[in-house]
């Protein structure tokens, strides 16, 4: 299954709902293009909802890191929401869990940007 991405605005925060696989190729490219598009439009508060992301490989992890640093370098902030166990475990073993600001509740996550 390839990846799908859709965005919505909640109280000034752009929530990106991702589903499928973030892997080398299409999945990573969609995520990269989505972040570039949002930054280009001035959206700098970004919440990546990974609740329906069932698989991520090292390229996908790299793309998440790239998204994080890209947004930070533009003076914005990028947080992660609703990690599946697989993604949670991957971020743990790669020591990235503490790098990312990971949230479990959407409303609280949106508030945390203000």
């Amino acid at each position: 299954m390839s990846m799908k991405s859709s965005t919505r605005q909640v109280d000034g925060v752009t929530i990106v709902d991702l589903s499928g696989r973030i892997t080398l190729g299409e999945g990573s490219i969609i995520l990269r293009d989505t972040i570039r598009d949002l930054i280009g439009k001035g959206n700098k508060k970004i919440l990546l909802n990974l609740g329906d992301v069932n698989y991520i490989d090292s390229s996908g992890i790299g793309e998440l890191v790239s998204a994080f640093t890209t947004v930070r370098n533009q003076g914005g902030d990028l947080k992660l929401l609703n990690l599946t166990k697989k993604v949670h475990d991957l971020l743990q073993i790669t020591k990235l869990y503490t790098v990312f600001d990971v949230k479990e509740d959407e409303a609280a996550a949106v508030k945390s940007f203000s």
Binding site: T23, D57, G62, S66, I93, V99
Partner: protein
């Protein structure tokens, strides 16, 4: 002890990466691994295939990737070979080092080592072979 061995020779494409992952998942399931181990094996094979296609063969249409799955009663042994220049083992950075945490690449071999019981990387000027071993635990181990 049952023994099954299958080999594939594949092009240096992204399709090969997906195919390797799917085959590994199928072989691991047949070997009796639990779902979590199946996922780990499939992911390790995917990462190794990515390295072979991208870093080894550099998408060269004239170079092939060879996948070899061998199932014994007690373990699944997977070998992935490319026809590249051979990886330099001295130059594999530690992705957990603070200075590397925010790098966007360099986690593949680390993940492979995390997910498999044994990993051997054998580079040569004719290419790199990576051997992955996962031991079957539980009732399937006797099969």
């Amino acid at each position: 002890m049952s023994r099954n061995r299958v080999s594939f020779t594949l092009d240096s494409t992204l399709d090969t990466v997906n195919s390797a992952e799917a085959t590994a998942s199928e072989m691991a399931t047949q070997a009796g691994f639990a779902d979590e181990d199946v996922m780990k094996i499939a992911m390790a094979v995917r990462e190794a295939a990515v390295n072979a296609v991208l870093h080894g063969n550099a998408y060269d249409p004239g170079k092939k990737v060879t996948l070899d799955f061998e199932r014994t009663g007690s373990e699944l042994v997977i070998r992935i070979r490319d026809q590249g220049k051979g990886i330099d083992l001295k130059n594999i950075p530690d992705p957990l080092a603070p200075e590397n945490l925010l790098k966007t690449s360099g986690r593949g071999i680390f993940l492979i080592r995390s997910f498999m019981d044994e990993v051997e990387i054998n580079p040569s000027t004719a290419g790199t072979e990576i051997k992955l071993v996962k031991h079957v635990h539980g009732p399937a181990a006797g099969g």
